[in-house]
Chain length 443, copies 2
Amino acid sequence: MAQEIPIPNTQQLAWQQAELGVVFHYDIHVFDNKPYNQADNRITPISNIHLFKPAHLDVEQWVISAKESGAKFAIITATHETGFALYPSKANPYNTSALGWKNGKEDLVGDFIKACRKHDIKPGVYLGIRWNSYLGIHDFKAIGTGDVQKKRQQDYNEMVEKMVTEICTWYGPLFEIWFDGGASSPDKGAPNVLPIVKKYQPNSLFYHNDQLAEARWGGSETGTVNYPCWSTFPFPYTGSGESAPESIYKNGYALLKTGDPNGSYFMPAMADAPLRGTGGRHEWFWEPGDEKTIYPLSDLMDMYRKSVGRNATLILGVTPDTSGLVPSQDRLRLQELGNEIKRQYGSPIKNTSSEKFIIKFPTLQEVQQLILAEDLSYGQRIRSFHIDAKTKTGWKTIFTGTSIGQKCIISLEHGLNCTEIKLHIDHAIGSPKIINFNAYDTF
Amino acid sequence: MAQEIPIPNTQQLAWQQAELGVVFHYDIHVFDNKPYNQADNRITPISNIHLFKPAHLDVEQWVISAKESGAKFAIITATHETGFALYPSKANPYNTSALGWKNGKEDLVGDFIKACRKHDIKPGVYLGIRWNSYLGIHDFKAIGTGDVQKKRQQDYNEMVEKMVTEICTWYGPLFEIWFDGGASSPDKGAPNVLPIVKKYQPNSLFYHNDQLAEARWGGSETGTVNYPCWSTFPFPYTGSGESAPESIYKNGYALLKTGDPNGSYFMPAMADAPLRGTGGRHEWFWEPGDEKTIYPLSDLMDMYRKSVGRNATLILGVTPDTSGLVPSQDRLRLQELGNEIKRQYGSPIKNTSSEKFIIKFPTLQEVQQLILAEDLSYGQRIRSFHIDAKTKTGWKTIFTGTSIGQKCIISLEHGLNCTEIKLHIDHAIGSPKIINFNAYDTF
């Protein structure tokens, strides 16, 4: 190979191959009977943890809902912006054990991970450390000034580092550890979490701090990325807020959305979106009376094609309610999504992974969609390609593309009748490694 | 009666009659292996509550130690300046239930109060709400600025009010509720605790906030007050820090030390001191290797005479150690104190409460000490008096005094040989109510 190209590590490859995940947001303020106001939530401590009172709490039902959507992994917010830990942390007294349930051993995170393993879903944990309204932490900084601030910061950082150690050592291997908004870096006075994750969870996807990002935010919370969306990036991290390299934030996060085919670092994109995200709403947390904001199935399929179908990993935000369950309408939509993905992509008319990249049909065949896939363990070798189809009127080019990666879904508007389809690799670094080239008559 | 004088309410009378109490200080930082530094403690949050690990915790042993000292009541710091609650508060998640002991029901306060009732000691609770290093509360104020500060303050105040409700409603009648450093007042943005205590614990001594003080600090932590020390005061409160009427703070707290015989408010004085308070040390909390700073018995008896013997209530600070017990040397000293008080004052040679105020001996008698006592339910009626004794050389005045109150101990240096002792009331408001006039040959 003339040119070295970045390849994924174990966890990045697994994360791209998983394609679809679910993140569950759950925190005390779900129970406050008020619309979620993130800005307010970040500055409003909630000492009264007994607001948190799910009558029918069943995290296994959450995991089953994720499974039904077709997700291969599921993530739980061990802490979000109140700072309340959903597990009996020894480091952080503001946690579920103080509720006095199950003899002080109530552990949503542990139960969630157990349920994941039972249902063959890969478990991940989300830790919000950037904000902690209970302790007065704002954008990683303890409020106050002088020695008071210094002491609070020191205690907070130690607490976070111990929590990360707990999460990394109590529950077995984790698929992903998600530090929301990034985990900043010790250089900037924030907790030093990277060495802990690397020590105890070397095969967990680290997302992310100012030192490293093993995946990147895809630049929006729409559940979509641009096409092309490369799994490579010019920096080993993306930063967060003011700490980000300036180029990342230009042009509406264009670099996050597209990546850089010549970037030196493997860093696949996450397309994230809340399931309740239509009709002018965008809800990571459950709120009463908002079932009508659940995305219609057609929107979700469009999202799927514009994320998974563009080489990104799609993570849907699902909102357990005050009863402690995924609401029935949300669960139904997840089931519909899982069924629809199977219906559309479960049974290709024909697939090939031969080096000839040709699909032949015995007779004229209507084709609605195509899927291409590279063996990403070799990195994104293919840089441009086109697809020709042999129709009644002869060969014609039906698609011209660049990135393939884990999955490239090509929808053919109004279908296409043909007897043969051929993939031409126009430019690749090293020999191309196509592992799937499938045709579907479904849409 | 020509002049109305202030009389004690139920709890004030009981508190004066109790004369001697013990306060136990216990908090997480006892376990940090460092000398206690109050200024530092106030600004250093301790998230790691699992430092708190008394291997042989036995609060009944504390209560027995108090009992052995002769104390009639005992007080426990439900919270001190870290903010850590020694009981499973529902309002404050930073508490013993988060330790995960006894199925999350560990309750030092409840156990302590139970032990008090078992051993016929009146239970009191101390609440530190002025400082809370865990939550960043300094002198009642949440740190920070703007909306963040406002929201934190609001949550803190609500939390404190709920905690006070818990303390007032969970454990039965309390002898005293001690808000250390005062509880400020709602006018100044602090929690509104007085109505809660008055509603649920109307017969508990309220000490104190900017609205009311049912007892006053005696102006030092030496375990002594001035003579005279009147049980009356010109204000219904003493304030704290900058909120105090200026006159209280003049001349080294002289007004707190002496009270004011013409004050309109009944407000007896507390003389407080830590048991470990000699040799340049002054320890409210246990520290390693400081047994030698326990006051010698003679100092404690001197303290007793200069507090209880001057109409104040003496409260000794005792320091349970990291094992969870009152250390053996401290307990021994408390036992010695209890025994010595009994030895010196348990068996008067003679006592009288007759209206003639005369003690007569059949033959020449050596007298070492005298005790006078008013029936305080009528208030401090006696404003000046003198005592004459009939010696071999005839009658002579052996003491001239002012305040009597609950107890006035008169030590006669080198003893006095006499056949008769007579108390002369020189000035009283209304008819004097002497209930004890005892002579002792012990010292």
